[in-house]
Amino acid sequence: MSFFVAQLLTGLANAAALFLVAAGLSVIFGVTRVVNFAHGSFYMLGAYLAYSLVTRLGTGLAEFWLAVLLAGLAVGVIGMVVEIVLLRRLYRAPELMHLVATFAVVLIVQDVTLALWGPQDLLGPRPAALEGGIIVLGERVPVYDLVLIVLGPLVLGGLWLLLNRSRWGILVRAATEDREMVGALGIDQKWLFTSVFFLGAFLAGIGGAVQLPREPANLMMDLNIIAEAFVVVVIGGMGSIGGAYLAALIIALLHAFGIVILPEITLVLVFLVMAVVLVARPWGLLGRPEAITSAPAHGVGPEARWQGRWLVPTFAASLAALALLPLATDVYGLQVTTEVLIFALFAVSLQFIIGVGGMISFGHAAYLGLGAYGAALLVHHLDAPMELALVAAPIAAGVGALVFGWLCVRLSGVYLAMLTLAFAQITWSAAFQWYAFTGGDNGILGIWPSPWAADPVIYYYVTLLLSSAAIAALWRARFAPFGYALRAARDSELRAAAVGIDVRHTRWLAFALAGTAAGLGGGLYAFLKGSVFPDVLAIPVSVDGLVMLLLGGVNAVLGPLIGAAAVTGGRIALVAETELWRAVLGAVIVGMVLWFPDGIAGTVRRGFGRGRR
């Protein structure tokens, strides 16, 4: 009993920061329809700023709370700046652009934080008055935990008052329901959006600041919390503050109790809770159904016709050139090209979901990773040969995609994006935490190709053969009736269903197909590197895939190949050149989103189109 109470209290205390972040995310989305990926960064900045303030101001009770407040305000201002400089120009852009642009902010904030505070974890001093613990039913509970337990409902109440008792709050609630009508009644939405961003960022900053005495500020806070916050918002219902609180409690308690049974089980539990909620109430526990139906697929124009005619010759010529490459380059160059080929397959498979299918996946790394881990675990635990492992990799990823896809295709737009990201994060956590099986962050080493393929040149040819065969197969599917059916569902779901296309099934199958292809890439990747680490499943890899698509053009058939070469090559060059490669990458993404939303291929094609007309 006493143990139960202790875990309950820990869970409740954990819920506080999660709720603050999720509530901010939810308020921002409700009004602006932007899913702010950088919200985790606001949280992280809150923690770091609070650290600096507390160490300067001292650990008196008043000083501590002043530091928390100042950190929150500072983060709020940063949020406003992000809104004014970046997002204000993107409100009419497709959701994919919002996600990618705010992720660019994540990258930039990571490097800025690293530069300002250094790589080490920073544990903030706890205010002296809140040190120690009290005994509750025989268990010692930290006083600070009790403070956090009270803070959650306090903030919930404060937000309720703000939203229900102020004119600003009334406008926010009205805009969450019907933005257009609020405009038609004479409200300038610009300042409303900016102020909402301030509030959301302020809440995230406070969340990070109050977490400081419990958890050291570190550079992984941003992505860890954002994935959880997405889960909370999906379960609680987008735009519902009460839902965010409820879902934060559920998730935090699942963690608190799961961790003592078996840490891995929490991930399964979280997944199951999400599955149950999404099947029963796709719009979340306290959300409104209409909120999720307003999400259209990624806007697309006519498919480029010439690519159909020139695709085969271009592809054949590229293959011939790549086949001759070993004559022209050294081992290092070959290994880089091998990696490019793998990511080309990854990007083409992602395009199958996003470009052809119109489903924004933010967690495609999951399938690359499932393939890589599928192959590596087989080799590590069962001594399987490379050939068998390369068969198992796509199967493992395909099965994973079938399971996750079954839930994902029930949603669309940003909900789908958040869900895919949450699933990817679940697989990442599994790989990261399950030491006994996956080796955790030590990874799995010694995954080498079979002796006949050990030579980098041979392995290059193996990769070239398998990747290009899989890419060709995906292209074939794209221009087969199946691919057209998928595109039909993207173009007009109404019309597709009315001619007899089962939209959900078609999407599910596409998801599985793309996952399988990515899994093959993952298997190849494991043997190229000789090892597998949880990084291969992490959010940045998923985002790399998106950047490849954006660079190459979301719908251009050859786009992913161009994008994969540019991103993989560019990254390798950047990492060699500068410590701040994340910030550079982030800046490149921002520039791309703002000025070249059609990507390299799209921009070139548009130029062509204009020339011809």
């Binding site: 697309v300 006519p302 221009f479 087969a480 009736p481 039909a488 007009s492 001619v499 007899g500 078609t506």
Partner: protein, 258 residues
């Protein structure tokens, strides 16, 4: 036996009864128009028949089969084609591909991953495009077509599913008056040539009275009148719901004001 039989069909949205127990029939080879003032429940009724909404009560029988609450793909396979108020076509494809993909859906070839769509049912697709007068536009991306042509294309796409019954939601909405009669004459001919039945809603009274064999009038979710066009035209109750009172009443009201 009637092709389509609707009995006691009802749907409410949060307490508002949009369709309140409506019943009617469509005979084989018949063109039937549903009309009614705004808010009469025509669109809801149509979406119930097309599977976009699930009815709260009632029964829909099609060719002797109970199809109540079926989803759109199942209805399509059963032989019900549909066009929408705002033409729904596949915007990233050419006119021919639009028809081809519908044809592949009808023939249950969608799971085929290996053959190319481009070479599938080409001749048939071109015949259908020819039938709606779009033969010349077969290779055009649909974004290059005029809106009236999109309406025609949508018709070809619906026909590709070999329907026995066509549900057309405002077939002439959004196109110029001159083109309306031509489009409806085309529909008329297709009905005759293929033995189709058509159920359509329409605002343009010239279209309704020029082309419908029978007219159903809805008002406040219920059936107000059902009969031959000339009888509907002279039905005083129908006039009343369209004007919010008989012309005499209005005259009196206006007199009272003045």
């Amino acid at each position: 036996m009637s092709l389509l039989a609707v009995e006691g069909l009802a749907k409410a949205f949060g307490g508002v009864r949009a369709v309140a127990g409506i019943g009617f029939m469509v005979q084989p080879g018949e063109m039937v128009a549903i009309i009614g003032p705004n808010g009469a429940g025509k669109t809801t009724c149509f979406n119930l028949l097309g599977g976009q909404l699930r009815p709260d009560a009632g029964r829909v029988t099609f060719g002797g089969r109970n199809i109540t609450g079926w989803a759109p793909p199942a209805l399509a396979r059963a032989g019900i084609g549909r066009t929408f108020q705002v033409a729904q076509v596949f915007r990233s494809m050419t006119a021919r591909e639009n028809v081809q993909v519908a044809r592949a859906a009808c023939r249950r070839r969608l799971l085929s991953l290996l053959r190319s769509l481009a070479g599938t049912d080409t001749a048939e697709a071109d015949r259908l495009l020819d039938a709606v007068g779009l033969a010349a536009a077969a290779d055009q991306p649909v974004t290059a077509l005029a809106y009236a042509d999109l309406k025609r294309l949508e018709l070809a796409v619906a026909l590709a599913g070999e329907p026995i019954l066509l549900l057309m939601d405002e077939p002439t909405a959004g196109i110029a008056a001159s083109e309306r009669q031509a489009l409806m004459a085309l529909v008329r001919n297709l009905v005759a040539a293929r033995g189709l039945s058509v159920l359509f809603t329409e605002h343009d009274m010239d279209v309704v009275f020029g082309h419908a064999d029978r007219v159903i009038v809805m008002h406040e979710g219920a059936l107000l009148a059902d009969g031959a066009p000339e009888r509907i035209r002279t039905d005083p109750r129908v006039r009343e719901v369209y004007l919010g009172g008989s012309l005499d009443d209005v005259g009196i009201a206006a007199g009272g004001q003045a």
